[in-house]
């Protein structure tokens, strides 16, 4: 069959029928899968229509002119000299300070917690389950929710922001530290213990040196990501640049809003590159 020349004028209906019987897929998908495809497509389409109706999506297009109004106001920086630069820069620094303080404190507390949550340190399954669930609880609620709660508990200001970052990060870092501790080499621990060292000394000299670079690098990464997150904590009153941003949005000072966003982007980019450089140095040194 393969070495014969196929002549189109000699193909008969019987040939076609035979080929169709042999290779049904070459003649298009079978009816069943085609029907299935259509049903799924129609269901997806009607679901999207439902969402369109649920959120009144038409307004995206009818309100677009209002977006242009904001954008036009945002790019007009003719009042630049009159903005309160000192206040804005101070708030930006406050945001970075909040991120640094909250993350570092969380890291310091997370080290012992990480040891408590690691399987090779505390073998008790019940205990580990409980500590892990506590970490999950801290992590599961967003930083912004914690901020809102702490603003209510300790009042407006950066302290609420620091506490929110601290609690949310405690969950993240303790979990990561516990996992890092669980993946350490067992042999070094055995070696130190063979010299008759106490349990604490064994952890100090066998486990800590293995995980410390990992811990520091993870903390640096968290500082980096928290300085990004901390910029919005002020929107709920927890201090920092977000507070200034929220004031400017409320009085429709769109030019300054754009300026603050640019400030945030520059600061975040600076911290990113600084922390990346430090982390690379750390990995090389270790």
């Amino acid at each position: 069959m393969s070495d014969t020349t196929i002549r189109l004028d000699t193909i008969t209906a019987a040939d076609i029928a035979a080929t169709r019987a042999r290779l049904p897929a070459a003649f298009g998908a079978p009816l069943r899968s085609r029907a299935l495809r259509w049903t799924v497509g129609l269901l997806a389409l009607s679901y999207l229509l439902y969402l369109h109706w649920l959120f009144d999506f038409d307004r995206v297009f009818t309100n677009l002119p209002r977006v242009w109004v904001i954008v036009r106001l945002m790019v007009d920086w003719s009042q630049f000299a009159e903005w309160d630069h000192a206040e804005l820069l101070r708030s930006m620094a406050e945001t970075v300070a909040m991120a640094y303080l909250g993350t570092t404190l969380a890291a310091l507390v997370a080290v012992p917690l990480g040891f408590l949550g690691a399987r090779n340190v505390i073998p008790s399954r019940v205990f580990r389950f409980l500590t892990r669930r506590i970490f999950d609880g801290c992590r599961g609620l967003d930083q912004l929710i914690w901020a809102l709660v702490f603003v209510r508990a300790v009042g407006l200001g950066p302290i609420a922001g620091v506490l929110a970052i601290f609690v949310a990060d405690l969950g993240v870092l303790a979990k990561m530290f516990a996992e890092a501790i669980e993946t350490t080499e067992r042999k070094q621990l055995d070696g130190v213990q063979a010299t008759g060292a106490s349990r604490i000394a064994a952890l100090r000299y066998a486990v800590l040196p293995q995980v410390l670079p990992v811990m520091i690098s993870q903390t640096l990464y968290q500082i980096e990501s928290n300085s990004r997150e901390a910029t919005i904590l002020g929107l709920v009153g927890a201090g920092g640049i977000g507070l200034r941003l929220s004031e400017r949005i409320q009085i429709n000072a769109w030019d300054q809003v754009a300026y603050i966003i640019v400030l945030i982007m520059i600061t975040v980019a600076l911290i990113d590159s600084l922390s990346k450089a430090l982390r690379i140095r750390l990995i090389r040194g270790a």
């Binding site: 969402l51 300070a97 809102l148 709660v149 922001g161």
Partner: protein, 311 residues
């Protein structure tokens, strides 16, 4: 002819000296770094008024607040009671300390949770679609003009570097208070984040299929449709599901600035100090986030599994 004890060998002394020098240098460096970190900590604490005294003063108030979250507002003069008690756990809405009493507005919450998840879905669909379209012009192996690639990439970077909540707050002005502003904010951010990941997948894809389509005279769109998309689609969908998980989290908080969903209700009850409702909503948010994470993880594994075996 006497043999020297190893410690009297001059090379031993030399070794000791060099080792000591290195050790001291290392120790000095560590100390310096710790000192810098500590100094920064002190400066940061001063900057944020975060003194031990302040925290000590705040701690009882934090404890008191969290206590209130899990207790029922007492009648005048009475002591507050915990929000749940074993004896009343499964009794009706009218009985304090039962689950039904704690979650007495569950119908409202469920509608809002539904809305929140739909917000995340629509935002993810928007982000996926826009990122899908934009990822191909942002792929260096598919576009000859470096300028065009750079332009699209900068656009994607700009979209993802504005914080979502800030974007939502801004969009509330043109689109009004409600979920639409939140959806757009999350969708725009997802476009930036997914577009970057998608274009990276595209660049790692095998170009032989694309060249094959080009060789038979396929247009640029046809090259992508038949040469590129079949290779990268599983990766795209997997990233999109991961993004959906993140978007569910975002949509629970985006309401804090008036952009719809359960967050708007949470902010209201926190503002009005309706303590039991705060803890009830927070628990529901925790549950929904965990459920969506587990579900999406399962779909992702099944999905990649089946596609992986086919390929």
């Amino acid at each position: 002819m006497s043999t020297l004890h190893p410690t009297q060998d001059p090379s031993w002394r030399l070794f000791q000296e060099r080792f000591g020098r290195l050790q001291r240098a290392r120790r000095a460096e560590t100390l310096l770094l710790v000192a810098i970190a500590a100094l920064l900590l002190v400066i940061a604490a001063a900057y944020t008024d975060f003194s031990p005294a302040q925290v000590a003063a705040g701690l009882p108030r934090i404890g008191e607040y969290f206590g209130k979250l899990f207790s029922i507002e007492p009648a005048r003069g009475a002591a507050p009671v915990p929000v749940l008690a074993w004896d009343h756990l499964f009794q009706g809405v009218k009985q304090p300390q039962s689950i039904a009493y704690w979650f007495y507005r569950i119908d409202v919450y469920l509608v809002l949770l539904w809305q929140t998840v739909q917000m995340a879905i629509l935002a993810s669909v928007m982000g996926f679609t826009a990122a899908f379209v934009l990822s191909f012009p942002a792929t260096r192996t598919l576009v000859r003009s470096t300028l065009a690639v750079m332009a699209v990439r900068r656009l994607l970077e700009a979209l993802r570097s504005i914080p979502q909540v800030v974007l939502a707050f801004i969009l509330v002005w043109p689109f009004g208070v409600g979920p639409l502003a939140g959806i757009l904010a999350i969708g725009i951010h997802s476009t930036g984040a997914l577009g970057k990941l998608f274009s990276e997948l595209n660049e790692n894809a095998d170009l032989r299929a694309v060249e094959g389509i080009r060789a038979v005279g396929g247009s640029w769109v046809a090259q992508i449709r038949y040469g590129m998309v079949p290779q990268v689609l599983p990766g795209f969908l997997s990233y999109a599901l991961l993004r959906f998980e993140i978007n569910v989290r975002s949509s629970t908080i985006i309401g804090f600035v008036g952009a719809g969903g359960i967050g708007q209700e949470l902010r209201r009850v926190i503002g009005f100090n309706i303590y039991e409702e705060v803890s009830a909503i927070c628990l529901l948010i925790l549950v929904i986030v965990v459920v969506i994470d587990l579900l999406s993880e399962r779909i992702r594994h099944r999905f990649i599994g089946s596609l992986g075996t086919k390929a």
